[in-house]
């Protein structure tokens, strides 16, 4: 492959966040007028790399070469000016403005009186949309478009700046199959127009349809490429994504299991927008006391939604039955879930787990405040005892229980969320990505804690998108493909390949 065919080259890129290395000396080439697909697990560093390439993160080690010249973008705007555009997974459009207004946002065309030149902008927008096979009038409000069409508007925005490289981050995660077909046609057209595509997706089936080459990322490192896609098999791709050496990972103790504590049957959750499609479809499983049950799934598989549904957050739209200790229970709100001995450690602890401006002790007592009430009033002695107990048990590193939760590290914040639930003495604990964004030591502490909770007879359900984690800490692993359970493995039979194969079904 000659130099002239490489439009963008990353050379030895390293990026660290507060001591965590997200990218470690990554070097790769983006080939001109090709669909370059980056594959890798969640946390492999794909998003970080995309953000560096598109100017979101201006600070990193290493160099970027665009058409052989060194570049360093200080902002996404600058990257766009140089011809690199990114289509994010979450679209960034303003709903109550027209397609034209969105495409031209920040670069409006004005006439000689300084007034917006709608005629010219609409014409140009129309031309762009035609190029993308989108026949919606450019004056339509974005709010009235389907997600697939909104994505086309985003692409049109990129094309207006004459983008030479378009980065697409999971572009098919939110659109229908028909819209995927259109998107792939658009990608083919863009290729003909000498636009280079950098594409991220988890859906392996679709990748074979459009990829010209694969680039594998794993644990922040470039692990190889597959240049000859027509010869490649799915197994090759999976090996590129996983195939890591397992080294001194924590392994859960083998504990005797108790009686069944939770059983769900036929849990389904229709999509909000399209009732015939499902976020969670016909999921059944059981969980025993002392068991750690893992749910693995790639982004968008419906793992979080499954937990939320069982926890009563979608009671108006869900169907299915929930049994606790063999008794059928109706759970219509988080209140019911908590009253029935469940706890949920959410995926985003800052948004949903903690009241950040409150001190640690108030967060710990939040879900079980009745135990610190004496004669109708909150008793600060009891509250402090409770806080000290869990700060000690969970080894929360803090100067005092009165410290504001927002000043704690991620790992310690997570421990406070756990403490809040343990203070309710639950029977069942749901952990959604319990170690996301926390350092290795805190991770290990949380693994041991999960083990100890199981030992005390709790049923623990762990959702994770980290394969090594889920294989290490769970007795049994359920795999979610798109909205359904597509595999079940005991800890002994589970291998990375088997799990990944089920996850992409």
């Amino acid at each position: 492959m000659g130099e002239e065919n490489i439009i963008l080259r990353a050379d030895n890129i390293t990026k660290k966040f507060a001591g965590v290395t997200a990218l470690n000396g990554v070097s790769l080439n983006v080939h001109r007028a090709k669909v370059n697909v980056i594959v890798g697990e969640n946390g492999a560093g794909k998003s970080t790399l995309m953000k560096i390439l598109s100017g979101v993160y201006p600070e990193y080690e290493g160099t970027l070469l665009l058409n052989g010249e060194k570049v360093n973008f200080s902002s996404p705007k600058e990257a766009m000016k140089s011809g690199i555009a990114i289509i994010h997974q979450e679209l960034n459009l303003i709903p109550y403005l027209s397609i034209t207004a969105n495409i031209f946002l920040g670069r409006e065309i004005v006439d000689s009186f300084g007034m917006l030149d709608f005629k010219k902008m609409n014409q140009m927008a129309k031309a762009l949309l035609t190029r993308l096979e989108c026949d919606v009038p450019p004056t339509t409000l974005v709010a009235k478009l389907r997600v697939g069409q909104q994505q086309q508007v985003e692409i049109a925005k990129a094309l207006l700046e004459d983008a030479k490289v378009v980065i697409m981050d999971e572009p098919t995660s939110a659109i229908t199959d028909a819209e995927v077909e259109v998107l792939f046609r658009i990608i083919a057209t863009l290729k003909k127009q000498e636009v280079s595509i950098l594409y991220i997706s988890h859906k392996l089936e679709e990748l074979f349809k459009i990829a010209d080459r694969f680039i594998g990322l794993r644990d922040g490192k470039m692990v190889g490429t597959i240049e000859n896609v027509s010869q490649a098999k799915k197994e090759d791709l999976i090996r590129l994504m996983v195939g890591r050496d397992i080294k001194n990972l924590y392994v859960k103790e083998d504990l005797p299991l108790g009686k069944e504590v939770l059983r769900v049957e036929g849990i389904s959750l229709p999509k909000h927008t399209i009732k015939s499609e499902y976020l969670v479809k016909d999921v059944s499983f059981n969980l025993r006391r002392g068991e750690v049950l893992g749910i693995f799934g790639l982004m968008g598989a419906g793992r979080t939604e499954l937990l939320e549904t069982i926890f009563g957050l979608h009671s108006k739209t869900m169907v299915g039955d929930i049994y606790i200790d063999g008794q059928e229970i109706r759970i219509t709100s988080a209140m019911d879930a908590v009253a029935n001995g469940m706890g949920l450690v959410p995926e985003d602890r800052k948004a949903d787990g903690l009241v950040l401006q409150m001190p640690i002790f108030k967060n710990i007592s939040m879900a079980s405040i009745d135990q610190i009430v004496k004669n109708g009033l909150l008793n600060s002695g009891l509250e402090m005892d409770l806080a000290h107990k869990y700060i000690g048990n969970l080894n929360v590193k803090t100067s005092s229980p009165g410290q504001k939760s927002e000043n704690l590290s991620g790992g310690n914040q997570q421990k406070v969320v756990l403490a809040k639930w343990l203070a309710t003495t639950p029977k069942i604990l749901f952990l959604d990505e319990p170690t996301r964004g926390i350092d290795v030591n805190a991770k290990n502490e949380i693994y041991h804690l999960i083990n100890n909770l199981a030992k005390e007879g709790l049923g623990v359900l762990v959702v994770s998108s980290e394969l090594p984690e889920i294989m290490a800490i769970c007795d049994r692993i359920l795999v979610m493909g798109t909205s359904r359970i597509t595999g079940e493995f005991s800890q002994k039979e589970a291998t990375e390949d088997k799990i990944m194969n089920a996850a992409i079904l």
């Binding site: 988080a334 908590v338 948004a351 401006q357 108030k362 879900a367 009745d370 909150l378």
Partner: protein, 322 residues
Amino acid sequence: MDIKTTIIKFQSIIALFVLCVVLALMSDKFLTMENGWNIMRQISVNVCISVGMTLVILTRGIDLSVGSILAFSGAVAAGLLKFGIDMPSLNLYIGFTVFGAILGGFVVGGGLGLFNGWMITQFKVPPFVATLAMLTIARGATMLWTGGFPITGLGPNFAFIGTGWFLGIPMPVWITVIVVAIAVVITKKTKFGRYIYAIGGNESAARLSGLNINKIKIWVYAIAGILAAVGGIILTSRLDSAQPNAGFSYELDSIAAVVIGGTSLSGGRGSIMGTVQGALIIGVLNSGLVLLNVSPFWQQIIKGFVILIAVIMDRVNHPNED
């Protein structure tokens, strides 16, 4: 605690103190017992409303209807006391004692607040809109109830509430102190109070922790309504008259007191005592400017700037909140 955090913590008290010193130097009538009671009596209505407003704002809400609810519940109490419920067609007449009439006012205030809470929680009407609607509904109801004319001549027993003295302290001050004391205990020492802060601090986390968000919010708006009724009864009693346009724009003075007192409009941070200090600052400023013969027009301009300064100070001290 270092000096800076101490100053930040007590900034309203320091501001109040400085204000009093300056006014005392500028006017010999300011620092008198009489003027002191005057100020206290004048702010008592605002403090009562503002305590309710504080609770609402702590949950990240707002209540624009307190001025109208104040007028309506005051008018209801006055009407019940003076005329009772008289329905000749049904051959029905119910007379009301002072106590019964006041209770009637509370029921109306609490009921309208409950309605606010119901709209906000069940129909997801934003608090600004729900209480804006109530602002005009309750005002209209006041006009209907009074026929547009004041209800006067309510008798000495009723007048005692707003004008009487007990143990050397004016009755409105007693009532206000009791309201404040109860509110302080509720916010600091009860589960309900803790939940109010939790909801305002992070509603999502509070919901996932199993809190009954809707119930707590409905109660908060109901309490705001009851406290507006308390203010309405004090005001009606003091004037010996229920005015149809009583309490007009009181919601704004109340929000001003809350904000000057350091409660964050984004919810989850603030205190009842802060609000009391905020109301005192406004009251002292009003009184001082009157004593100094500053024109009422200038008074409004000055009050506006005081609000701005208070909020800017708050921003500086809490730079990370949105």
